[in-house]
Amino acid sequence: MKKKEILVLKDLLGSNKMIASEIREELTEKGILTINFLSSPGAGKTSLLEQLAEQFQSQYKMAVIEGDIETERDAERIRAKGIPAWQITTGGACHLEARMVGKLFSEIPSNLDFLFIENIGNLVCPASYDLGEHIRCVLLSSPEGDDKPKKYPKAFTTSDCLVITKSDLVPILPFDIHKAQNEAMEVNPQIKTFVTSAVQGTGIKELTGFFIESLQKLRKQNA
């Protein structure tokens, strides 16, 4: 019996990255700006999507992929706004993977402007999985505390923008918006911050403005 050592040097997330690149390429070609929303459970992802749906209304076509461990509830909330939505239930898995998004691909209309993906509520695991998005957006709600960026650095270092949600609650909480923003910028100096409230409807216009600008850039790059 011989002992043998073989050198492999293979990325364990390699197959996910490969599928994600294919997805991104196809979405880029179709001119559909894709945004992956990450946050802990209850930070307000679905509420923000409802607000975005109202803001975009008839001017832009959007669709949503909802990720949850169980239930079709979030997809139903989005459909109630007249927006096409697909629910991925992972049956326990704590994150979405690119192949799950890939499976839905044939059903996604090609005349969309925006495709939003609501990831599983979890600030850790989803950060490691590229889904083929153009923009990764991490949400931090004010009740969670302003010290989260350094506690969950990967979610913040890999995101393009930070949305501080539930700003309506800031007056009654020991939450410092600047501190949260500064912490996020320490772990990711390029991150763009938005502050929103789904209850008051504030900050949504700034966010849609950023998405529209990014969509135009994507299409210019295609032309």
Binding site: M1, K2, K3, L12, L13, S128, P153
Partner: protein, 115 residues
């Protein structure tokens, strides 16, 4: 806990390599896990020990090389290790840093017994 799904992909590669080399047993598996890889070494070990039962690797050891986050300043070229994940150059204060190491999640090598 996405470590189990990482270990599932690891075993896909292990099975493929073992078949290719006609291995009888896998005795050791070595990974490189970066501080910013998103995976926790302890959890990878737990998942590995759970998964390896009834496979060619049932007796195998998982050896993890933990790679610290290493950055290089784009302005002053200063290279340093960061254990706080704060992306500011400790030499000149610039925030334009390039990551040199620390995001990897690699299967480095496999040790196996062959007929």
């Amino acid at each position: 806990m996405h470590e189990l799904s990482i270990i599932t992909s690891l075993f896909e590669i292990l099975e493929e390599k073992a078949k290719e080399k006609k291995a009888r047993r896998i005795t050791c598996v070595k990974l490189q896990v970066g501080a910013l890889s998103g995976a926790v070494p302890e959890l990878l070990k737990t998942a590995f020990d759970f998964y390896k039962k009834d496979t060619l690797a049932s007796q195998a050891e998982l050896d993890i090389d933990e790679i610290p986050l290493k950055v290089k300043c784009k302005k002053c070229q200063h290279e340093t290790f960061k254990d706080d994940f704060i992306f500011v150059c400790s030499n000149c204060g610039s925030s334009e840093l390039k990551i040199l190491a620390g995001t990897e999640l690699l299967l480095e090598k496999i040790e196996m017994e062959i007929e």
